[in-house]
Symmetry: none
Subunit: 155 residues, 2 copies
């Protein structure tokens, strides 16, 4: 694996999967020690890899007996997923390529898009394809993603 963040990401996902529970609790310090990195590296991993649009919820507590709890969000109804993703679209003024990718992959993981759909849409919504300036790209992405979700909610 190329960098420590990816390794830690994989490790945490593995633990999450093996625990069979929908949430795991870790001690930031312990993980940092295990991978010989500074504690704030763990925050970096969490902030970039365990985001809401990717389907994770993270809670934590400081002080004695502190912890970080990572929860995989399980949505049983398609409509719930679409609603939560639409909320995310509203909450993020900057719909970056990265965010778009996360959302599309999430839709794939939840079985609402095929891999091909994801590739196609990702390319259509990429910086390279859209060109323009950043604000216009954000606008187009928002509108097209909302349109996509509206279509998906009909089936």
């Amino acid at each position: 694996m190329r960098n420590i963040s990816d390794v830690i990401e994989q490790y945490l996902k593995q633990v999450l999967k093996e625990s069979q529970a929908e949430a795991i609790e870790i001690k930031r310090q312990d993980i940092a020690k295990r991978f010989e990195c500074v504690p704030s590296q763990i925050n970096y991993v969490i902030n970039t890899r365990f985001t809401v649009e990717k389907g994770y919820l993270v809670e934590s507590k400081r002080g004695g007996g502190g912890y970080i709890r990572i929860r995989r969000v399980i949505l049983h109804e398609k409509q719930d997923l679409l609603t939560s993703l639409m909320d995310i679209l509203q909450d993020h003024p900057r719909l970056t390529e990265q965010l778009v990718e996360n959302i599309l992959i999430r839709l794939f993981e939840e079985g609402m898009l095929s891999e091909r759909d994801v590739r196609l849409l990702y390319h259509l919504l990429s910086d390279e394809t859209l060109g323009l300036n950043a604000d216009d790209r954000y606008l187009i992405r928002r509108q097209q993603l909302l349109a996509l979700m509206k279509l998906l909610s009909y089936h």
Copy 2:
């Protein structure tokens, strides 16, 4: 071999062939060192020798743990159709909903898009979804349709 670009090209193709995988990952810096050239030479080789038309797809990531991934792809047999459709896109300044529809239906008839694809794309490219003013809509449609055709040109 007369120039370093040809040598690097051969080397990468060799590695690709020997790996038996459909993709290889390299570090730009490493290759540059191996052939004692500047790193941007690698970009030159990739941009001139590993293009989509030649059957290669290239992805990359910057920053720590960065890489360049070169993937071999199979070109679609209907290149002629795609080329002529791309010409049409270039020739028409006004990419109206109607024209978009015609193009999508053509791609459907040729078996390159499913009915679902057509519905989805038509919806994403509609006046209603795009909003904006007519000229911007024409621009977005052109760029996204061109991106679509580029994607369709390989499997």
